[in-house]
């Protein structure tokens, strides 16, 4: 058996893996990507499609800004349309007290590039007359927007292939080892792939691989709950999401140009990890209908025509793993994006390519280092991490 050798081997063909493959080719490295199923089939393909910076953990905005600059280069960057529309994003609240939170976020130095504008009361309802009366205030992000998640990872994979990458779908990893200076990856169909660098972008399955190198990550899996209405004339360009601390109130929607309104949020479901499928819980749909009527009363005249879910992974601190291994040279990770990876996709690909290529990156990714899970702390100990990381 002849081993198939490349500079970098990527395991996992979601948005992070395919974008990394693309940017690694831009830097001239030979790349092979292995995907167990089909490219972009899980979290990357089923998420809401938010290309949103506002509301992110402030420490993530440096990375999100880098990603946004790449989104702005679509479709020329990869030669395919991802239906990206920087049509604005509005983060609204039902509680007057939350307006101060929105203002504090808008005033944070990290958020300066977002050009946020906090609007409340009559001014808000004059500008967004379709919002329900319970909406008290909102933060408008003019540069944020949305795109079609079903298209993103497959398009990046094709762009990477056109640039010379090798993408092997329906190729499942059986064994990963580092022998000497080389990673050796055997697949279930008996092929051997080797490389000096290994990048794990296996989403909900990322920890299965990282723990083989002594770096487990306590991932939990959840199924996002998405629904879509029938098409109606395009009139709601702004993506709108609710900022709240009550889980059932979390709802967000976007209207695509062909007219359908995509809805997400509320409860999450527990995926079936054996058959690798996640269903939408009926109570999520009922809740979404109730919450949407509150946020956008006009929606009452529409029908939900389809719902879907997928498999997303969450870390205890709701931050992803984006780093070099703390234990093994040449090993890198980008997984566990906690339901907010879509906007970051291009940026993460670019950062990983830079990191693998040069050993460092100009983007601030220290909070996402896998070593934060190195000394398992009891769950109560994580609260200190939460408070220092200033989640908003």
């Amino acid at each position: 058996m002849t081993p198939q050798k490349s500079d970098v081997l990527i395991v996992g063909g979601g948005f992070m893996g395919t974008a990394s493959a693309f940017f690694l080719r831009q830097r001239g490295h030979s790349v092979t990507l292995l995907e167990r199923d089909q490219v972009g089939q899980y979290a990357s393909g089923v998420n809401f499609g938010n290309v949103r910076r506002q509301g992110r953990h402030l420490a993530q905005l440096d990375l999100a800004n880098r990603s946004w600059a790449l989104w702005k280069r679509m479709p020329e960057l990869i030669g395919e349309d991802l239906e990206f529309l920087p049509s604005g994003h509005m983060r609204v609240c039902y509680d007057e007290a939350h307006i101060a939170d929105l203002e504090a976020y808008a005033a944070a130095p990290e958020a300066s590039q977002l050009d946020l504008e906090v609007i409340a009361g009559k001014a808000l309802h004059d500008r967004f007359p379709f919002l329900g009366p319970e909406v008290k205030g909102g933060s408008y992000a003019p540069h944020d927007g949305h795109a079609n998640p079903r298209l993103a990872a497959p398009a990046f994979a094709r762009a990477a292939i056109r640039a010379g990458a090798r993408v092997e779908e329906r190729t499942e990893v059986a064994d990963v080892q580092k022998v000497g200076g080389e990673f050796q990856v055997t697949t279930t169909d008996g092929r051997l792939f080797t490389a000096a660098n290994l990048l794990i972008t296996a989403g909900a399955w990322g920890s299965k691989l990282s723990e083989q190198f002594g770096e487990p990550v306590p991932l939990e899996t959840h199924g996002p709950q998405m629904a879509v209405t029938e098409p109606v004339p395009y009139s709601l360009p702004t993506v709108i999401g609710v900022y709240t601390k009550i889980a059932e109130e979390v709802i967000y929607f976007r209207q695509i140009q062909r007219g359908n309104i995509v809805i997400g949020g509320g409860y999450r479901s527990r995926p079936d990890m054996v058959n690798r499928r996640a269903h939408v819980e009926p109570r999520s749909i009922v809740n979404q209908i109730e919450q949407m009527r509150r946020l956008l009363p006009g929606v009452v005249n529409l029908n939900i025509i389809r719902v879907w879910s997928g498999i997303e992974s969450y870390t205890p601190d709701s931050l992803p793993v984006i780093s070099a291994s703390g234990k093994v040279d040449g090993l890198f990770y980008a997984f566990g994006f906690c339901g907010h990876g879509f906007q970051l996709g291009p940026g993460v690909g670019d950062v990983m390519a830079e990191l693998i290529s040069t050993g460092q990156t100009r983007t601030h990714i220290a909070p996402f280092d896998i070593q934060r899970f190195a000394d398992p702390v009891p769950l109560t100990g994580l609260s200190s991490l939460q408070t220092t990381s200033k989640v908003l």
């Binding site: 497959p154 009926p282 009452v300 005249n301 529409l302 029908n303 025509i305 389809r306 719902v307």
Partner: protein
């Protein structure tokens, strides 16, 4: 365990006979039906206040219709009957229902899916124009509302329903411009031995044909559909087709009814996790059920056209048989002699089913011949060219992948109308047998769900 909560979905021939059998054994089922009245599609009852008699409504099947309706009327007060109720989703042990804008959850220990079938359609250029109906839709218009779908109607497609609906239109006094059948006469002759498994049904079919000839309706066999003519403003103005002899012809009309026999409604079974398998005879995916109606999921049973397209007589027997299977699984006594007779009568109906599939084959080859500009998915208005594009350029050789990239099957009908034709287009473009491109996975809601829905807190 006589207190088992049994829910039957569908009050057609299978559902009613199933309810009747269970009740006789001391189980009081919940019978949920989407329609306002019982009878299902074939024995659809006219709305209250309509006064057409049985013979006018059901023709040769009047006796069976009346018997079924009478059985139901006797059952009605003894079971928990919930008409006008859509089961839009399910999870193990629970059904999500909506009725009159109110949402409720119904628990079940056993589920009998008697969900019936809808028209099986093959796309044709122009079928998105107003005035294009399915055969079943045109029959509902006549049966329920006593109206024709147009002043001058063309029936095009293949299968027994083509002749049944056309002759019902003739009988009702509507103007039938033509009956255009894609299957040639030779297929019928070849299938005759199998069709003779049910000589009485075959004879009724011939009578339908005779009625069409007597009414001087133009009937063309072995045709190739080319186009539904018309424009977006005024709708359908005619149909163009190629005769069996290869001559191009055109018939003027203002409405056209299309259909190639039936496809089962399997969404609920799919959501329940029941296995489906590809049926070579009809070239479509059917529920995997045993001889008595057990699906691959314990406690979930299926009967009638939703399980296997064998028509109303078979549905009545299959409904009884599935009820008996459940009784047996609950360790209750069943009438073994009756069970044996039900199985035997279904055997001849199986042979007849195969005969029908051979006599009126699904026109798979039409998908390959469809021009690129023909619409495949009418909800999302996606063309054959766009669907072929994702197969060719994006490697989407599987139905769900092609749906994700092209939107075919994503719309209001959830693939009911387009996914089988779409699968043929994908298979032809990928040069693989249609079973290899898979089938569209079922997703909730089973039908569009109004956002007016209010939750009933029970």
């Amino acid at each position: 365990m006589a207190t088992a909560r049994v829910v039957i979905v569908g009050a057609g021939p299978a559902g009613i006979r199933c309810a009747e059998t269970l009740l006789a054994a001391g189980i009081k089922p919940i019978l949920i039906d989407e329609n306002r009245r019982d009878g299902g599609q074939i024995y659809r009852r006219q709305p209250e206040g309509f006064k057409r008699d049985y013979s006018a409504l059901y023709g040769s099947e009047a006796g069976k219709a009346k018997a079924l309706h009478q059985s139901f009327d006797q059952l009605r007060t003894q079971i928990d009957y919930r008409p006008d109720t859509l089961v839009w989703n399910l999870t193990p042990g629970q059904l999500n229902c909506v009725s009159n804008g109110r949402h409720s959850v119904i628990d079940y220990d056993a589920l009998m899916l008697c969900t019936g079938a809808t028209d099986r359609l093959m796309p044709i250029t122009g079928w998105q124009l107003a005035g294009t109906y399915s055969l079943g839709g045109s029959q509902i218009a006549l049966k329920a509302q006593s109206v024709s779908i147009g002043h001058s109607v063309v029936f095009m497609g293949s299968g027994p329903l083509l002749y049944l609906v056309a002759s019902q239109y003739v009988k009702a006094g509507a103007n039938v411009a033509a009956v255009l059948d894609t299957s040639p006469f030779s297929k019928r002759v070849a299938a005759l031995p199998k069709l003779l498994a049910r000589p009485a049904v075959l004879f009724e079919g011939m009578k339908l044909l005779a009625r069409l000839y007597r009414a001087k309706v133009a009937v063309h066999l072995g045709i190739e559909p080319m186009q539904v003519l018309g424009d977006e403003q005024t709708g359908v103005s005619g149909v163009r087709f190629k005769t069996g002899a290869g001559r191009m012809m055109q018939v003027d009309c203002d409405a056209v009814a299309l259909g190639y026999h039936l496809r089962p409604e399997t969404q609920l079974a799919d959501l329940a996790g029941c296995r489906l398998q590809f049926d070579e005879v009809s070239g479509q995916w059917l529920l995997a059920v045993d001889e008595e109606g057990r699906t691959s999921v314990s406690g979930v049973y299926a009967a009638g056209d939703g399980a296997k397209i064998r028509g109303a007589d078979a549905a009545e027997q299959a409904g009884r048989l599935a009820a008996n299977a459940l009784l047996q699984d609950l360790q209750l006594a069943v009438d073994a002699t009756a069970q044996q007779a039900q199985k035997q009568s279904l055997a001849s109906m199986d042979t007849f089913r195969v005969g029908l599939c051979e006599a009126f084959p699904w026109p798979a080859a039409q998908a390959k011949a469809l021009p690129d500009e023909a619409i495949i998915c009418r909800c999302e208005m996606i063309t054959a060219g766009e669907l072929r594009g994702v197969v060719r350029e994006k490697g989407a050789c599987e139905v769900n992948r092609a749906k994700a990239f092209s939107r075919v099957g994503m719309g209001r009908c959830q693939g009911r109308y387009c996914s089988q034709g779409g699968a043929e287009v994908i298979a032809a473009e990928a040069s693989v047998p249609v079973q290899e491109v898979g089938r569209q996975r079922g997703q909730a809601p089973v039908k569009p769900l109004s956002m007016k829905m209010q939750e009933v807190i029970s």
